[in-house]
Amino acid sequence: MIETKNLKRSFFSGGVETHVLRGIDLRVETGEFIAIMGRSGAGKSTLMYQMSLLDEPNSGEIHIDEHDVHTMSPEEKTKFRLEKLGYVFQDYALIPDLTALENVVLPLLMQEVPKAKAYEMAFESLSKVGLGNHLHQLPSQLSGGEQQRASIARAIAHQPNILFADEPTANLDNESSRAIMKIFLQLHEAGQTIIMVTHEEPYGAMAEKIVRLDDGKIIGIEKNKK
């Protein structure tokens, strides 16, 4: 479960304060798959960055399961992200010097998973997204769709409580996008909590719920038909 209370975030630029989130109250239950949607500048990604602890809100509360994560120190947040959260970024965000396998195994090693076990888990995760034959390829040797799948494999290898995805299909062609969404659906069916930001209606419709934002506020929550 993740819950935000009166979450606010604003930015200063040239002495002008821009309010991006104007008090977000949102609760996502364990196992839910929600899509955050809205027009450009609505605050979708900013909301996801606050919920995923990549950014600091100006005010408000964030609770993940039994943790009051908004009170955590930066080091505690880093550890929490490592152990409890998974990320899929729009531009895949793989480390270019590491092979697909190494990209996936790195967070596991950081969690002190024994080396052999970590590599086994990384292999399983990559196999799950169909990259079992691309273990030793560098990101530059993979297609966009394959890189995004490797990114998903990295995000889910340690079985995170919540998987965050920021526009995961934005840089992909239709076929690759559908493949990615299919993986998300499979993960959701297996009980994975997923919070996905997207501006593409067809993919948003695949989620369990759509949270619509505009001008930094939630303007509606829609439940999708199965």
């Binding site: 990549l54 080091e75 880093t78 152990e83 959260l85 990320y87 965000a93 790195l106």
Partner: protein
């Protein structure tokens, strides 16, 4: 902070970043480190070697390991034959050469001088009466003969002139330092005078080395000089002693003094006999070398700082991603420390190979021809390793600082490329 886990992850990242970096990047950074290391070791080594070359030459071609000279208040070494007997019996002594010496004048063109009032082509000189074979064995002066030949035991009325006595080798016009002008060469007759005794002799050769004491002398066979100065007691003025390898000159000096030689002569090791200004010059050049080395270290620090800073700034997004997925900042910083360490070690090891595998043996075989010495490369292993350690330390610090600067930036700003 710097836990074992962070070291493991830092090493994991560093190895892969180095392994998968462009070969040219690795070559370029390593090349810069090699040059930096050479700058640290070779510049100061040549500076010190420049003086050391002169010092070694004086040892090899004049003083040798131990030198016995007359006491300050005596004309010569009294009871020289007894001293020489001691040397002959000492198994640690390999070779020795005894020299008679006195001061006098040498004059050229005396036959063609028209008037008594014309200025004579004359200069003062130090005469050395030697056993040519013994002298050659100890000091190898024949290799410095630039014209004519070295002396032989039967050379009567023949001399070898030091080059500084001749204007053609030392073209200095100074009222306090006069040289013989004109084309004096082997076969030229010159007139030498010691006290009231004069003799016409023939120039057999001209010796030119980088040792002033040699270049200022006139060498002749010992029996010839003895007859000139009227010394019939075989008391000599100096004895240069070469030891067998492995023997400490100080031990020989001490044992000669124990045998009473100190009452008739000064006994000095090569080191004792080195003038203080030479020792001061070595110290001065070592200080200069250290100053240049320090500048080299600063340059190395700045170079590595820039290299790592550029590397880290261009990888800022990935550093942000690493932090975003939960990799600790310390592990990322350590990865850059490992990279700096790798480049410093690579550069230094290659530098060591170049210094000890190529430069030192090459320069030893082909000394650098400085005006006053044959310069060598002085690079003691301990000193080189000290400089290597300094370089590694400076490099690590210079690599750590920019990495920390980038790692400390806001994670999301790094991921999104925001300033």
């Amino acid at each position: 902070m710097f836990s074992w886990l962070n070291y493991r992850i830092g090493f994991f990242l560093a190895v892969r970043q180095i392994k998968r970096a462009s070969i040219w990047t690795n070559v370029l950074i390593t090349f810069v480190m090699v040059l930096t290391f050479l700058n640290l070791v070779v510049v100061s080594g040549i500076l010190v070697g420049l003086i050391q070359g002169a010092v070694d030459a004086v040892r090899e071609h004049y003083i040798s390991d131990v030198i016995i000279t007359n006491l300050n208040n005596k004309e010569y070494i009294e009871n020289s034959p007894a001293v020489i007997n001691l040397l002959k019996k000492d198994p640690r002594v390999s070779l020795y050469t005894a020299r008679y010496s006195d001061r006098g004048t040498v004059e050229a063109d005396y036959k063609t001088r028209i008037k008594e009032t014309d200025k004579a082509n004359i200069t003062s000189a130090s005469f050395a009466g030697i056993d040519p074979i013994a002298e050659e064995k100890v000091t190898h002066l024949s290799k410095f003969i630039v014209e004519g030949k070295w002396l032989s035991p039967g050379d009567y009325d023949q001399v070898v002139l030091g080059s500084y006595l001749l204007k053609k080798y030392l073209p200095i016009e100074s009222p306090g330092f006069v040289t013989l002008s004109g084309d004096i060469r082997p076969g030229t007759k010159v007139r030498i005078a010691i006290g009231n005794v004069t003799r016409e002799v023939t120039v057999k050769g001209i010796v030119s080395s980088k040792i002033d004491e040699v270049n200022m002398r006139i060498f002749m066979v010992d029996s010839q000089l003895r007859s000139l100065i009227g010394r019939n007691d075989f008391n000599v003025d100096e004895i240069s002693i070469e030891l067998k390898p492995g023997f400490d000159p100080a031990t020989i000096r001490d044992s000669l003094l124990l045998n009473g030689v100190g009452s008739v002569a000064k006994v000095q090791t090569f080191d004792d006999a080195s003038p203080k200004f030479i020792k001061d010059m070595i110290t001065t050049f070592a200080i200069l070398g250290n100053i240049f080395s320090s500048l080299g270290l600063v340059v190395a620090a700045i170079t590595i700082f820039i290299v790592i800073f550029i590397n880290a700034i261009t990888r800022r997004k990935f550093i942000g991603i690493l932090k975003g997925i939960g990799i600790s900042g310390e592990a990322i910083e350590i990865s850059y420390i490992f990279q700096s360490f790798f480049y410093a070690i690579m550069g230094s090891v290659l530098g060591l190979l170049i210094v000890y595998g190529i430069l030192q043996p090459y320069i030893a075989a082909n000394p650098i021809n400085f005006p006053f010495s044959d310069g060598i490369l002085v690079a003691p292993v301990s000193s080189s390793f000290f400089r290597l350690s300094l370089l590694v330390l400076v490099t690590i610090i210079s690599g750590y600082i920019p990495a920390r600067m980038i790692v400390k930036k806001n994670t999301l700003d790094s991921i999104l490329g925001r300033n």
